[in-house]
């Protein structure tokens, strides 16, 4: 009986994972294909990686994406951290639910709408005050910051609401002023959450195609945009190589971020548990 069930469970597992990962696996495998045709295996080679690194357009796009990713993740951290702090420490006030809903809204907003509204905003701003002059890296960075900040805020808020407020009170009691408490006590304690938030934002920014397409200008092609446009002209095995690299980068980042969250969770529960004596 239990044997039967486990067979069923195993096949469900295999099917599920196959459904999710076979396409990705194929991309990775075909990135090492010798031949020019994407769908026909012609032997092992790393030549597409070599040709990828000599493709200037692709390298420029990757460089753009990295720069936008670092910038917007950093800005999102600067904006999202105070937001998370306010949501968990400000206490109750009228319209609190509305505020927290508004902070989380970019997470569920369709990207097309976010992209379109931001485009309208940038165009209007340019006509009114002349900034941002045209669209390019800076507008993409701003656009990515808006939705990444929401992710950071949520991560920080959940970390803070699990934190014992008496630790901050103890610092105040011992003579530290609120601003100092934030930098000396609160910040170090939520540091893992901040790093995780940053990595998450960076990854999201690196992935984004739709919003970037709306607010990009000439010379600010990001990697996903480049990939998308070159695929429309026909898939080259180079793209497979690129995809493999992206998958690798993103997976490493996600794994680091989750490990950090896990570690901070564990430290928190260990600090809370308290009484077990240690040698």
């Amino acid at each position: 009986m239990s044997n039967k069930r486990s067979t069923f469970l195993i096949s469900a597992l295999v099917f599920g994972f196959a459904f999710l990962y076979v396409p990705i696996l194929l991309v990775i495998i075909y990135s090492f294909n010798e031949g020019k045709l994407v769908t026909v295996w012609a032997g092992f080679s790393t030549k597409w990686y070599v040709s990828l690194f000599s493709n200037d357009g692709m390298i420029d796009a990757a460089w753009n994406s990295l720069r936008i990713g670092v910038m917007s993740a950093t800005l999102a951290l600067a904006l999202g951290t105070p937001a998370g702090l306010v949501m968990s420490r400000f206490g109750r006030f009228k319209g609190r639910t509305l505020f927290s809903g508004m902070i989380a809204a970019p997470l569920v907003m369709p990207e097309v709408i976010t992209g379109l509204s931001l485009l309208l905003l940038f165009v209007t701003l340019e006509q009114m005050i002349g900034w941002p002059a045209g669209r390019g890296l800076s507008t993409i960075t701003i656009a990515h910051t808006t939705f990444c900040a929401a992710y950071v805020a949520v991560v920080v808020q959940s970390r803070l609401s699990g934190m014992d407020t008496s630790v901050e009170e103890a610092a105040m009691d011992l003579g530290a002023k609120p601003a100092k408490i934030f930098f000396v006590i609160t910040l170090p304690m939520i540091l893992p959450a901040l790093l995780a938030g940053w990595l998450l934002s960076f990854t999201l920014s690196l992935d984004d195609l739709v919003i970037a397409s709306f607010v990009a200008g000439p010379g600010s092609t990001t990697l996903p945009m480049k990939v998308f446009s070159s695929v429309r002209l026909g898939v080259s095995p180079e793209i497979n190589a690129l995809a493999t690299l992206i998958i690798l980068t993103v997976s490493v980042m996600i794994i680091i971020a989750s490990l950090m969250i896990l570690r901070s969770e564990r430290m928190r529960s260990r600090a809370a548990a308290g009484t077990e004596p240690q040698p």
Binding site: E169, A171, D173, L174, A176
Partner: protein, 388 residues
């Protein structure tokens, strides 16, 4: 006997030194003046006035939600009173933020900084004050010595046991030599054995440093062991203030009597009173209760006689003098605790009386067993009479 006046005066002065609350000229160190704290419509603290004197170890005792922690947090500056004033050493604390108050607090959860070592935790208060490095180093070492944690200076809080964390928290809150040390359930997170041991240690440390301690606790045993005086709180009001002795022997209400130790409360009506004695007729007990002192009240008023279980005697035969203070019943429950035994005796009226007897000699078998018919009696001075 003749006692010279000088000796009397000396004795008087001594009392005033050790019991400043009995000295009308003593100036209180901490003063709550009609302090009220409301959270929305809820009165957490309701018009509390309280004086605490220098070098006291004062305990606020009460069940959860009685307002004791709110009172402590107002002293620390984490909450502002809705109305009323708080003075520490003569200074009005209104508007003084927590980081400028001459108080330090030891938190129930200890609230150690998890990312700092024991040493850094203890030094934190001095670092905020801009004390020089060498000075900090010396003071931290001294303080860690006082709480016997020198060996663990480099450890992080999560590498310590509960008792060790408690010591670090104590050292951290004492290092700034606060005028008042506030302790929120200081021993609440320790297990029973460690708690009893730490109670005395804490009292010793208090005597050594001479700081005024104000402590919040729900554990009456802890309060009685440690405190010079106790305020019993209930629903935001102080029920009674006194030394452990006063509260136990002369409770002013059924609440206090019940909260400190165990008590049998017997309801009755005053039927006879005089300057030297009073008699309360109790239907519940089925006997008259003779009290060897006068009672404030008039005949026909309802009173409760509070009888501590250890002041009752349990016998198989009716005592010779059985007119007063003597009831018959059946043993319903027996609790053998080694040093003492507890008996629950059910009276004819259905009232259950708790009696404890010391097991001062080694016995082959228990003296009384279930369903035994027994008599419970007490001295005229055993009962305290309560009217609320």
């Amino acid at each position: 006997m003749l006692v010279s006046e000088a000796v009397l005066e000396d004795a008087h002065e001594d009392v005033h030194k050790t019991q400043p609350w009995n000295n009308p000229d003593a100036v209180p160190y901490i003063r709550f003046e009609n302090v009220t704290k409301k959270f929305g419509d809820f009165y957490a603290v309701d018009d509390v006035s309280l004086d605490i004197y220098r070098h006291e170890l004062f305990a606020l005792l009460g069940g959860s939600g009685c307002g004791k922690t709110t009172l402590l947090r107002m002293l620390a500056g984490f909450e502002e009173p809705t109305s009323g004033k708080i003075f520490i050493d003569g200074v009005d604390m209104a508007g003084v933020p927590a980081y400028e108050r001459p108080t330090n607090m030891m938190f129930q959860s200890y609230a150690l900084f998890p990312h700092m070592s024991v040493e850094q935790n203890v030094a934190f208060g001095l670092v905020q004050d801009g004390v020089s490095r060498s000075e900090i180093k010396q003071q931290v070492a001294e303080m860690l010595g006082l709480v016997q944690m020198s060996k663990f200076a480099k450890r992080k809080p999560h590498q310590l046991s509960g008792g060790q964390r408690q010591r670090v928290a104590l050292a951290r809150s004492l290092i700034k030599r606060p005028k008042v040390l506030l302790l929120d359930e200081p021993l609440g997170a320790l297990d029973k054995k460690l708690r009893e041991q730490t109670q005395f240690e804490l009292v010793n440390i208090q005597e050594k440093v001479g700081t005024t301690f104000v402590m919040v606790t729900h554990d009456q045993e802890e309060a009685m062991t440690m405190a010079s005086r106790i305020a019993v709180m209930n629903e935001g009001v102080i029920n009674q203030i006194g030394t452990p002795f006063e509260l136990y022997e002369y409770p002013n209400s059924r609440y206090t009597a019940n909260f400190l130790g165990q008590v049998n409360l017997i309801e009755g009506v005053l039927v006879d009173d005089d300057e030297k004695y009073a008699v309360i007729k109790s239907e519940e007990a089925g006997c008259d209760i003779y009290i060897d002192h006068a009672v404030q009240g008039h005949q026909g008023m309802t009173f409760w006689a509070a009888l501590r279980p250890e002041r009752l005697r349990i016998t198989k035969e009716a005592p010779e003098e059985s007119k007063y203070n003597c009831v018959a019943g059946k043993v319903e429950e027996i609790g053998y605790l080694g040093g003492i035994s507890t008996y629950h005796v059910r009276l004819a009226s259905g009232l259950r009386i708790k009696v404890t007897e010391p097991n001062s000699t080694r016995q082959i078998e228990p003296r009384y067993t279930w369903e035994d018919n027994v008599w419970v009696s007490w001295e005229a001075g055993a009962a305290s009479v309560l009217n609320k």
